[in-house]
Symmetry: C2
Subunit: 148 residues, 2 copies
DNA sequence: ACTAAATAAATTGTATACAATCTAATTTTT
DNA sequence: AAAAATTAGATTGTATACAATTTATTTAGT
């Protein structure tokens, strides 16, 4: 019978946080070789994914979708702007809001991105059922964080 | 019957990568208020966790354990050094290796860290079974990445 | 023993992240 | 309507991350 040892709670192997942190970091690293070919980073890629799904959105909405704040998004959007993938214009009805839109070049990049997700999936060694369960649990964690 | 639409693969909601990335980011953010009280960051905390579990390890071993490279660890270890939590000395049998050890202050910090994991667990709205399954799946992802 | 290859950290350069603060614009209160 | 509160982005400062390169040391091959 093993009794409770407070030391155990501080072992990496007993923490959910560490594998979450590490797998998040490692999976984005897996994207790098593919995204390098497109000349964008992972964070730039997910910003474009938001826009590919729904064009003309505010910085605030992008941030809410991706859990990123303006300190990250402002310089990142400037990079996407200078690369010619997006354009900015302020919302006439509320000049505080900055609306981000895809340029033709930004929209065309989507075609090149199609091939990436299946290649990443292949590197994730999970069955379809496991991947679905992981997906469900991760969103449950994320949703749970929103409350407090 | 819905036919396959290549657009769907590029939706955030269809990607495992995004919730991995986001939950990793968000859970470390949850640690911040607790770690602020100790005056350390999340990455510094997991480096200390490695040392609390096994003292006197090389930079390389810390990096392997945490999936971090020297570009991240070197400046971070210098911060822990200047805060007085660790000491450095090179391995006599191989001067390339830098051995990191806890100071008394670094060891004592462990007592203050005990209380943190249970408080984070409380914010993760998963049942014990779900948390275990998530843990298993995340490590399966991480292990799968090691191969290639 | 001597050179080539390999290894461990440090360094350099680029790109996030995010808290905290600031600024401008809009809304709410009074 | 004027003042106060709120909101959206931008800015500032600190701390990761990591690829690529460099340096010092060690090991392997001849």
């Amino acid at each position: 019978m093993s009794s409770f040892n407070p030391d155990d709670t501080l072992k990496l192997s007993n923490q959910l946080c560490f594998p979450l942190y590490a797998s998040g970091k490692e999976i984005t690293r897996k994207y790098k070789p593919f995204l390098d070919k497109l000349g964008i980073t992972y964070t730039q890629y997910i910003v474009l994914m938001v826009l590919w799904e729904k064009d003309h959105v505010s910085v605030k909405e992008i941030g809410e979708r991706l859990y990123l704040d303006s300190g990250t998004l402002t310089p990142l959007l400037n990079k996407l702007l200078s690369k010619g993938y997006i354009s900015k214009k302020s919302l006439p009805s509320d000049n505080r809001e900055l609306i981000i839109s895809l340029t033709k070049k930004g929209l065309e990049l989507k075609k090149e991105a199609y091939a990436i997700p299946p290649q990443i999936s292949r590197e994730v060694k999970l069955t379809k059922e496991e991947a679905q369960e992981l997906y469900r649990l991760l969103y449950k964690v994320l949703e749970g964080f929103k409350d407090e």
